[in-house]
């Protein structure tokens, strides 16, 4: 196909060509027509001059005298006129062959005529003069009666010939003038006169018929008349032929113009069609972009667009609870079926609500967008729809039982609507009985997230700048009141502040920084043993132990520091669920090989399982602070602690009371038989 510009160029070219043709046609047409008129007028002039010449001849013949100048003037005019014709436009083209032929014929005819006129002129004078002489001499000649009669006869004959100009051709005839020759004269002078008279008559009898015939021939206009008529006819025929040819050209141009217009119209149609197609495509595309393929509901893009039309929007976000389980359990087809069914129900019901639209904004989430209304009304709408959705029997063809679908809704009138509605929804996630939550800023954990990010940042920095520091809290022998060891507690040094692991340890696990912190804790605790010659108790999580690299690191470190390993205690959290008990047992066995002791931290807070204390060969039990901190006032706590201590003594396990914050508590725990105490009563955690 040709390009747009080529097409435009061609059409423009065609139009310009047509305009040129049209102008050219008009011009040519006029030129040819005017040539026709010109030729006509030239022929008319020829005719006129020819008439003038004939007129001259006639006058010359009839008048006693007529100046040859006139005929000569007309002849030269005729010559000029013929020259003009021979020089005219028609000789520049091949379009007038017959006209040219006729003009040549006329020109030849005229040349012939000029010669004849010359001859006529030569006879003219002498015939007229002789006739005049003869007539005017009659009075001077004296004749007998008989001679006179004969003379009269001769004269009559001559005059009748003379008068047949313009009538008919005359036969030359012998006129008998013997009577004149025989005439006897009185004087010599008279004899001369008679002789001259005879000469004249003889001349006339010889030349008069020739003269008359020559005049008649010249005056015969029939031939030239015919020629002129034929010439005019021929000019007209030939001129018309050219005009017809030109007209044909004109019609060709007209057809061409028509075709060009058709082509242009065709292209306009084509362009229009193409435009329509593009518009349709755009519409389809927009639909596809703004429509959810599965359900036919408007999608998130559509939601974004619609949002701007709402003055004060409220969003209700519906979520299919645990939709992935449905997919997993029944397969994607069933999941799709459920989504379609939900969509249909939503569609039908949302249509009933004024100023509301339904969108599918996620895989299993739907949004009703509507103008803000009262909380009660929104709650009502939402719960009605939820009830409808949950009560629906989702019968999938191949399944016998209907599938039960649980849904929850989050509502937000605060920007960003869907995210906030999501936050509200999330706040429900642990409670399947609550179905609807309305967003308020307290639900928003975005600030927390920000703080978390800042904290992670701090941890990273601390690891690089060696700001992970250890504080140590002494453990006191309740009998001797002496410090027997220190619990190493990890802190993040932030300027002059020590940040508790409560704020960063969980984050560090998520940020994969935890392992490095563990390494720091172990290295620095061991360093403290080296530096200060004290016993150190180090906190480990089960995770650390099960983590292969950390596990190996601990063993390697212990191997490197065999001299001090007997001064180390590892505290494990009782609250933690032990998944891989065997691995744990193996680890404990290994470190016990280095002389390390094992303590269980926060014992009594969770599932206090005595059995596994025995299995794990635990050396020390650290009784959970929650049992200790009010022990001086709580008898039940004293009972719990007492049972623990009794068991520990039986199992030969030392016990530690944490959170000893006063003299009263110390007294209670001492009395209960706990071996060691730890808490603010003795010392805050502090650098050694």
């Amino acid at each position: 196909m040709l390009g747009k510009w080529s097409k435009t160029f061609l059409v423009t070219l065609a139009l310009i060509a047509m305009i040129f043709w049209a102008i050219n046609y008009k011009d040519k047409n006029e030129r040819i027509q005017s040539r026709g008129y010109e030729l006509f007028s030239l022929v008319d002039e020829l005719k006129e001059i020819n008439n003038d010449i004939n007129n001259d001849i006639l006058k010359s013949a009839l008048y006693r005298f007529y100046s040859y100048d006139y005929v000569e003037q007309h002849i030269s005019k005729m010559k000029k006129q013929i020259e003009l014709l021979m020089d005219s436009d028609i000789y520049k083209t091949e379009d007038y062959p017959h006209t040219k032929e006729l003009l040549k014929e006329f020109s030849d005819y005229e040349t012939d005529i000029y010669e004849k006129i010359d001859i006529f002129n030569r006879k003219n004078g002498k015939v007229k003069n002789s006739l005049n002489f003869v007539i005017s001499s009659l009075k001077n000649i004296h004749m007998t009666q008989k001679e006179n009669q004969e003379l009269l006869h001769v004269m009559g004959r001559l005059l009748s010939i003379r008068n047949s100009i313009g009538l008919s051709s005359i036969q030359s005839e012998e006129i008998n003038i013997d009577f004149l020759r025989l005439h006897k004269t009185d004087t010599k002078k008279e004899q001369v006169y008679i002789n001259l008279f005879i000469t004249h008559i003889e001349l006339l009898s010889k030349h008069l018929p020739i003269y008359i015939n020559s005049a008649n021939e010249l005056l015969n206009v029939e031939k030239t008349e015919k020629l002129f008529i034929k010439l005019k006819e021929t000019v007209e025929i030939e001129n018309n032929a050219i005009l017809n040819k030109l007209d044909l050209e004109y019609y060709v141009i007209l057809v061409f113009a028509f075709l060009t217009v058709l082509v242009v119209i065709y292209y306009i149609f084509l362009t229009e069609k193409e435009k329509q197609r593009i518009i349709a495509l755009q519409r389809d595309y927009k639909k596809s972009v703004t429509t959810d393929f599965l359900t036919g509901l408007k999608n998130r893009n559509a939601y974004m667009e619609s949002l701007s039309y709402y003055k004060s929007p409220t969003v209700v976000l519906f979520d299919v609870t645990d939709f992935s389980s449905i997919n997993n359990l029944y397969g994607i087809e069933v999941g799709d079926y459920i989504l379609k069914s939900i969509s249909n129900i939503l569609k039908i019901n949302v249509e009933k609500i004024d100023n509301a639209e339904i969108f599918k904004v996620g895989a299993d989430t739907f949004v009703i967008l509507m103008e803000k209304r009262s909380v009660e009304e929104i709650n009502l709408i939402s719960s009605e729809i939820l009830t409808l959705l949950e009560n629906e029997k989702y019968h999938y063809a191949e399944l016998e039982q209907p599938i039960s679908v649980q849904m929850q809704a989050g509502i937000s009138s605060v920007k960003p609507y869907i995210i906030n509605a999501g936050i509200a929804l999330k706040s429900l996630s642990n409670d399947y009985h609550k179905k609807i939550a309305i967003y308020d800023s307290s639900l928003d954990n975005s600030k927390e997230i920000k703080e978390n990010i800042a904290m992670i940042h701090k941890v990273k920095h601390s690891l690089i700048n060696d700001n992970i520091t250890m504080l140590f809290q002494p453990m006191i022998d309740l009998n001797s009141k002496k410090v027997i060891k220190h619990e190493a507690l990890v802190r993040l040094k932030d300027n002059d502040e020590y940040i508790s692991p409560f704020y960063f340890l969980e984050l560090s696990k998520k940020a994969k920084l935890y392992t490095q912190i563990t390494y720091e804790v172990i290295n620095k605790s061991l360093q403290a043993v080296h530096d200060y010659g004290v016993d150190i108790s180090i906190n480990l999580s089960i995770e650390d132990i099960l983590h292969k690299q950390t596990h190996d690191f601990i063993i390697e470190t212990l191997e490197k520091n065999r001299s001090i390993t007997s001064r180390l205690t590892f505290e494990l959290l009782e609250s933690e669920e032990i998944l891989d008990f065997e691995s744990l047992k193996l680890f404990i066995h290994k470190i016990k090989g280095y002389g390390c002791k094992i303590a269980i931290d926060d014992f009594g807070s969770g599932y206090s399982n005595y059995n596994y204390l025995l299995e794990l060969e635990v050396d020390i039990l650290k009784i959970d602070g929650s049992l200790i901190k009010n022990i001086d006032k709580s008898e039940s706590n004293q009972l719990v602690v007492k049972s623990i201590v009794e068991f520990a003594k039986l199992a030969n396990i030392k016990t530690v009371a944490e959170f000893v914050s006063s003299k009263e508590i110390e007294e209670v725990v001492s009395k209960l038989g706990i071996d060691f105490g730890q808490g603010f009563y003795y010392s805050m955690p502090k650098p050694l």
């Binding site: 006693r64 100048d69 010359d118 002129n121 002498k126 002489f133 001259l196």
Partner: protein, 306 residues
């Protein structure tokens, strides 16, 4: 009965148009060109031996008073010189009308061995070698001299050589009247039939006629008549009718220069061509009419053009 013929004759006589028309004055002309033409007309160097100019044979009222003119190397011409005056008004040039225009007429005397006897090359060489002509041609034509331009200039000069304001022309124009004798002469001129051939502005010079129309005229072998061109028996002794303008000033008469007086010429012509023997009184009257045809000498001829 005679009366009837006479009436008829009179009627036909009385019907005539203007048989003779006055000469029109030359109102304006290209002075430079005419001056150049005149200079060339009078330049003998245009002839082969530098002895003959156009004017050599056309000086006596544009004609030559000798029976025949003398050309280069003293050679005699073959025919009586026709006047250059009013030649422009003749329908064709030469006694036998062989040249249709003044321009074509000129070739003949220039190249004729017995007249100027020169070639185009020689003439052009002469003109181009002349400072004067170079300048004049440049002034007039803005071109270098050439034979064609020479003819153009001479023709321009010749076209000014007309003799208007004759007594007769002034009579025709109603400004003067003729004497009785002149009137009688004019009447006879018409009535005897002279006017049948001697008519028009040049009183002749507009048709071919045979000398000896009625009574045979002696034929001279080799003469430049129409026969010399056509070789037709009927064209023997056929000449172009000479103009009668200034005829009384341009003796001798006829192609053969056989008559020295105008009276003789009128009588001879009446005899041969009208079949008449004229009375002396008639001849006298006709001659007095012919004298009225004497016009003014052209100013471009008589005085300096510039």
């Amino acid at each position: 009965m005679y009366k009837l013929f006479i009436i008829l004759s009179l009627v036909s006589t009385s019907i005539y148009a203007e048989i003779i028309t006055p000469i029109k004055k030359v109102e304006s002309y290209d002075v430079g060109k005419v001056a150049l033409g005149k200079q060339l007309f009078f330049d003998k160097k245009l002839s082969k031996d530098g002895t003959i100019s156009c004017a050599s044979c056309h000086s006596d009222f544009g004609s030559d008073s000798r029976v025949v003119s003398i050309g280069v190397n003293g050679q005699k011409g073959v025919i009586q010189s026709l006047s250059v005056f009013n030649a422009v008004n003749n329908y064709k040039q030469f006694w036998n009308a062989r040249a249709p225009s003044l321009n074509s007429q000129m070739d003949s005397p220039i190249h004729s061995a017995v007249e100027m006897g020169n070639s185009i090359e020689n003439i052009e060489q002469y003109l181009k070698s002349s400072k004067t002509y170079n300048k004049l041609f440049k002034d007039v034509f803005s071109k270098k001299p050439s034979y064609l331009l020479l003819k153009d200039a001479i023709v321009a000069f010749e076209k000014t050589l007309v003799t208007p304001n004759s007594h007769f022309d002034r009579f025709l124009e109603g400004k003067e009247s003729l004497t009785r004798l002149e009137k009688k002469g004019f009447y006879l001129f018409k009535n005897y039939g002279c006017a049948a051939c001697h008519n028009g502005v040049n009183v002749g010079g507009n048709s071919m006629q045979m000398i000896g129309n009625v009574v045979e005229y002696p034929y001279i072998k080799g003469q430049s008549d129409l026969y010399s061109i056509t070789n037709k028996e009927v064209d023997k002794n056929v000449f172009r009718v000479p103009s009668l303008r200034n005829i009384t000033k341009t003796a001798p008469y006829f192609h053969d220069g056989s008559v020295k007086t105008i009276e003789g010429a009128v009588g001879k012509m009446a005899y041969y061509n009208l079949g008449m023997v004229l009375e002396d009184t008639d001849i006298k009257a006709i001659v007095s009419f012919l004298k009225t045809l004497e016009g003014e000498v052209p100013t471009t001829w008589s005085s300096n053009v510039r």
